[in-house]
Amino acid sequence: MTDIQSNFAQSDAYLSALIDEVRSVPAASGGSPMLRRRTFFKLAGGGAAGLVLGFHLGNQAFAAAATSDSAGGDEVMNAFIRIAPDNTITIYSKCPEIGQGIKTSFGVIIAEELDADWNHVVMEQADINPKVYGSQGAGGSTSIPRAWDQLRQAGAGARAMLVAAAAQQWQVDPAGITAKDSVLTHAASGRSASYGELAAAAAKQPVPDPKSLKLKARADYRLIGKRFHGVDNPKVVTGQPLFGIDVQRPGMVYASFTKCPAAGGKVSSFNADEIKAQPGVLDAFAIDGTGVMVEAMPGVAIIAKDTWSAFQARKKLKVNWDLSEASTDSSSQFSAQAQKIAASFPAQADQNVGDVDKSFAAAAKTVESYYEYPFAVHAQLEPMNTTAHWHDGVMELWVPTQQPDRGLPLIGKVAGIPPEKVVMHQTRVGGGFGRRLVNDYACEAAAIAMKVNAPVKLQWSREDDFAHDFYRPAGYHQFKGAVDKDGRLDAWQEHFITFTADGKKESTGANLTDNLRYSIKAPNIRRAKTMFPLRIPTGSWRAPGDNAQVFAAQSFMHELSVAAGRDHVEFLLEAVNRDVPELAPKDPTKVNFSPARASDVIKMCAEKAGWGQKLPSGSGLGLAWCYSHAGHVAQAIEISVDAKKRIKVARIVVVLDVGPIIDMTGSEAQAQGASTDALSTAMGLKVDVEKGEIQQQNFNAYPILRMPLAPMTIDSYFIQSDNPPTGMGEPAFPALAPALGNAIFAATGERVRKLPLKDLGYSLTS
């Protein structure tokens, strides 16, 4: 293997492992080992008047270090809560706000257990210190489930210290003290005091053992489940600096970075003298990088006094690329090749349940179908950027990332410094969608900053964003299914044609998801895969795997129910409740696919969507479901389709069970947003790859849904089951596309088996 190939495999392995971990949902009860190890520590010093409560993972030595840091005036970095004498409560959100609403929800969870007056809570972004906060990432819809216990304990611990302080001052039994809206009351003696009044005394109390804290029962929630305004919205609507791209530092210069359009190409030479002579340009140099895509790839940096000068100079840039090891991938060839081999089922099966051949032989009906979907870019609206400043032996960065703590070692590696010399500030993120699980742009900025004697803002262009993404992989599925004489799903055979970076396992995001492996409950299952070598990087794209695989699987499921002459909802309910012992959850302590939860969302979705009602000719109602990112979700869409294949969406219904809802307003926003995103993606979005280069470069070639065609009505419903809360960022995406395909079939009799639907002649109309 050449270096580049080995680097490419290394890069993909890093991202695959990251996503596996990010997607893993903590145990339903008892907490992860990390949570069990967590203990409280109290931060002394600082303003003295306030109570500052933090956590640490591990030993007391670190707590001491954190305390001593705090004496230097830096205590807010290590804390969740600070209470000021005027009753203002500052709560630090440890994870990135990427539009999923976490900065609001995290505050609500802490304030709930603290019994804080929400009107006097100020939310701030915590700085990046995984030794204090644990994981600080946002991905896989796991921020809420991962932080749930930790945040509640933070709130309850601070409350316990306030109560202890009041009990001491009033010489009363703490059990007789109640808390509400940042005020403690002892009814028996008629005494009360505000948190602000008690904060200084509370800070002197011993820190409670988290295990000793009694967390609230759901019935006692005052805040959780209500509606909240996004805490940053006043700044968003007035245009105040929030995002990575908004960072300004004294003496800052600006950089653009040009990489090879074909992944894996290296810089041989470039017209350095000509570039350096361009107006506003301060410097230009090649960077080798580490050659690992999740770190820094080779390219040419142009340093200028403003962004425009860097972009303009770039138009004159002539790079001789060494393409000897660059990708030559072609998506049109992949597509043609996949279709050619789809019907030849591989000799080696990955999953074998029951006896598929026997089922096919005895089946009342068999159906065979081929599905395909394309590569896609994330196209989050804030183009990649990072501001980096190499000073005093420290690399200081301001990064709009989804995985800040994971960036630290990579940035250290690229800069050639120990990770503890990397100081990262988390900014608000102008859209994540999984793109910013990777810190490549931050690594590039660090590599550039090492050569620039000033703070430098690296700004990608939109074209850079299209050309250097970690793409949603295309995929191709050949299905054969059987229904038995009673019209039940009996066999499911699937040849999945996908991609590999290392020749051994699927590329990142290109594996058949566990959600599908365990929730398609046929008594006879046989699955196998063929992997095409791929040299462009793939990654995690909102609901990775599920975002397209569920389209194929749940569309085919509808083909089977139609073939069986069954009502689709009845067919689905029967299928999800089928007892197939081989598909039972391996670890029952985890949040798992639950037939009961799946049934509940399917039934409610059918009811809310008016399933079974007669619709006018040309109209159709489609319904599909999925288990994705620990959420059980059903989606229905009612449409009409005219003779020119123009689709008018009447309404969309989304029913989710993600456990208790933290912020109803934010959760509805995610349900609406993910459904809209899914409709947009199913209708029109794809990128093509030819000779290793992405063919689309900007939004004019990537028709994200706009206001005139966006659905006017998306009704979301939540079944707030007694399961631990799980995330909302992703689950409302995957089932929309198959619901749409099923609705098209209901309206027209035509089955759509390829995305985007634009390529089959379909369009939306208002």
Partner: protein, 153 residues
């Protein structure tokens, strides 16, 4: 050297005449509320008002602006309708990631300045140039209608 009138204030900037207003605002005047999204007038994140008309600032060379009045997201709240729209955006909790919302608010305010009671078709026509990757369109429409109601109240 160009003298620009932005949010009622005069600013001198020494930049090339072909530099788009977007980058003058962001890099030279520290008015970073106006966002870069595409650079080719496809996303609307950079929308500002020039003499009251919504314009994509990525396509407006600074040398061609002259004495026309520029209003940005930082200044729109000082106008009656701008303040109403910003309030409506907060009450409807429109933003998800929030990156496009400055441009959305500028387009919506321009719409309401011209048509205080817009129809759905008016909203579609005025807002079609502004992408929202998070898909907040339903709440944008709600906020515009609520703002229209507040304007007429």
């Amino acid at each position: 050297m160009f003298t620009l009138t932005i949010n009622g204030q005069s600013h001198d900037v020494d930049v090339p005449e072909d530099m788009p207003l977007l980058w003058v605002l962001r890099d030279h005047l520290n008015l970073v509320g106006t966002k870069y999204g595409c650079g080719i007038a496809q996303c609307g994140a950079c929308t500002v008002h020039i003499d009251g008309k919504p314009m994509r600032s990525c396509q407006q060379p600074v040398g061609k602006i002259g004495t026309r009045a520029i209003t940005t997201i930082e200044g729109i709240g000082a106008t009656p309708n701008g303040a109403i729209v910003q309030q409506a955006w907060q009450e409807a909790d429109v933003p998800q990631c929030g990156y496009c919302q400055a441009g959305q608010i500028m387009s919506a305010t321009a719409l309401l300045n011209g048509k205080p009671q817009p129809t759905d078709a008016d909203i579609d026509a005025a807002m079609g140039g502004n992408l929202c990757r998070c898909g907040t369109y339903i709440r944008i429409r709600t906020a515009i209608k609520n703002a229209a109601a507040a304007i007429s109240a």
